[in-house]
């Protein structure tokens, strides 16, 4: 039995988690909120060493040291552009840990005489194993997609809905079996079915929707941890897991709304077909391209310029040069703003983080609702490394994977300049009609390289 003082300390940890989530939802308190959460987590894990009678202390401590080193090094080394996949990876290992914990607990429980095991405990154990495994494998697939280790386009094969249905049925059947016949072998089979289910769930999701799925899997891991807390009879795990499960589900919904997508469409849209618009290959239709000199003249003689930054900008590490360019234009009396699409980058809010890193003043960053009416007054829109967020197909082509997603109205401006590496379509894998528009000029090349040429040319005007 856990001593009372420890249970009270667990309660303190649980309150810390609530305050952490509360703090994280407002810019001013976010950092403090995160630290409060970290304090709660460390507190909860420290208490267990004093409150419980533990064997195998040496292996546990070594494992914690190893995990800490891996976690800190991974979190510090990662480029800000690659952060979404790191979050996916961290979420996946958490799910994996939950599944392993439940398997070990199952092993422990199944040694007792069957009659002593509450059915509901077994159901919760099965749930943790299954959902933890789904979260683990699903997160690994999202990681592979974001890291572009595999195609970012939806992967659909003819038997996929059948395979998914079969895996789903098998998982329900196995969970039921586990309730009436607690046995480690069934648990292990269930874990493998969960792994398959996670892969099948995420494969058909297109690249642009991956952030929503990461958030969903995050909520899944939360629920797995909550069920694990019930199995272990530990209230802080139950509270922490449930908090993450509930807030994660809401966050997933908020993200989907910000992208104009329903959750169902995100997960199963590709299975219904019709989203294969654009072959994902470079088109050979004619476009108008120009050199940095010409573009510099366009920019230098404009009155109002709006910059639409995208993931390509951050990948090329061109955000510092872009800020210099905007500063120079500002000195010439040109009004310049950045139009930030809610999902610019790879995740909601990602672009704000990336530009803040380049010390772009906060006042210049305009959210979509705020600036969308201004595009028709803009002389020039400079789209740097973005594509899907200005693709008019979202408004005009029902059946396009991004149809219904709110976009920045770059097509309403006088002139549109795209800085692109190639004619390759965006992350969603669909062609952008705006590229072929008569008022569009393309400036090909690596964003950083071209940006510094453009900067020199604008300075020389």
């Amino acid at each position: 039995m856990t001593p009372t003082w420890a249970q009270l300390a667990y309660l303190v940890a649980a309150v810390c988690f609530i305050l952490a989530l509360k703090g994280l939802s407002s810019p001013k308190t976010a950092r403090r909120g995160n630290l409060v959460g970290a304090f709660g987590a460390v507190l909860a894990c420290a208490i267990v060493f004093f409150a419980e009678d533990l064997d195998n202390l040496m292996p546990i401590l070594i494992a914690i040291v190893v995990g800490t080193v891996v976690g800190v090094v991974g979190a510090r080394r990662v480029q800000m552009t690659q952060m979404p996949q790191l979050v996916a990876l961290f979420n996946g290992v958490g799910g994996g840990a939950a599944a392993l914990v439940a398997l070990l607990e199952l092993d422990e429980l199944s040694r007792f005489a069957e009659a002593h095991i509450a059915r509901f405990d077994m159901a919760a154990t099965g749930f943790t194993i299954l959902v933890g495994a789904v979260s683990f494998s699903g997160s690994l697939v999202t990681f592979a997609k974001l890291q572009e280790l595999m195609t970012t386009r939806p992967v659909v094969f003819p038997g996929l809905p059948v395979a998914f249905g079969a895996a789903l049925l098998a998982s329900v059947g196995l969970s039921a079996t586990l309730v009436f016949e607690p046995n480690l072998s069934w648990g292990i089979v269930l874990a493998f079915v969960g792994l398959a289910l996670g892969v099948l769930l995420v494969l058909p999701v297109g690249g642009a929707d991956v952030p929503i799925v990461i958030s969903l899997l995050n909520a899944f891991t939360g629920l797995a941890v909550a069920a694990g807390g019930y199995v272990l009879g530990n209230a802080v795990l139950l509270v922490a897991g449930t908090l993450v499960g509930a807030s994660g589900t809401l966050l997933t919904k908020l993200m989907a709304t910000a992208m104009g997508r329903s959750l169902f469409n995100t997960l199963f849209g590709a299975l219904k077909g019709g989203s294969t618009l654009g072959a994902g290959e470079a088109s050979d239709r004619p476009v108008r391209s120009a050199g940095p000199q010409d573009i510099a003249i366009l920019l230098g003689y404009a009155n109002r310029v709006i910059v639409v930054p995208g993931y390509g900008l951050a990948v090329a590490q061109a955000q510092h040069t872009l800020r210099e360019l905007v500063d120079v234009l500002g000195e010439k009396g040109i009004v310049v703003d950045y139009a930030i699409h809610p999902v610019a980058g790879r995740m909601p809010g990602h672009m704000n983080v990336l530009l803040a890193e380049a010390q772009v003043p906060y006042e210049q960053l305009k959210e979509m609702d705020e600036i969308n009416g201004d595009f028709k007054h803009a002389d020039v829109v400079l789209v740097v490394g973005a594509n899907d967020v200005v693709n008019p197909a979202a408004k005009t082509t029902p059946g396009a994977p991004i149809y219904g997603m709110p976009i920045l109205n770059a097509d309403e401006a006088g002139q549109v300049i795209f800085m692109k590496r190639s004619m390759r379509p965006g992350f969603a894998g669909i062609e952008n009609e705006l590229l072929f528009d008569p008022k569009t000029t393309l400036l090909f090349g690596d964003a950083k390289d071209t940006m510094s040429k453009l900067l020199t040319a604008v300075k020389a005007l």
Binding site: A44, N56, V70, A98, V101, L251, E370
Partner: protein
């Protein structure tokens, strides 16, 4: 109240608290919030420590050690990377007290 009902009560109340505390989040903070929530469920480390501490066979200890490593990576890495993200937000001039929304 019987024990399962106590657990159910905690669960249901936590659901409402979880939804309530983040219901006013601005879209700029979606990513750090997801990352922070992700770190919080790393507290499964506590569960991993408990089961490993009770494990008897070598195999069970080995599996438990793997679970502890994975959970620690989730928890520690999650909080560190969230803090890194949020550092960027703090450097902003505090001129605008609220998110400018139209």
């Amino acid at each position: 109240m019987s024990e399962p009902v106590v657990w159910l009560t905690i669960f249901v109340l936590s659901v409402f608290v979880g939804i309530e505390v983040i219901s006013k989040v601005s879209s700029t903070l979606h990513t750090p919030l997801m990352s922070g929530a992700n770190a919080i469920h790393g507290v499964i480390l506590l569960g991993a420590i408990l089961v490993t501490g009770a494990a008897e066979s070598t195999v069970a200890v080995a599996v438990g050690v793997v679970a502890v490593v994975l959970a620690t990576v989730n928890m520690v890495g999650g909080f560190v990377v969230t803090d890194r993200m949020l550092q960027m937000f703090v450097r902003r001039p505090p001129r605008q007290p609220q998110e400018p929304r139209s």
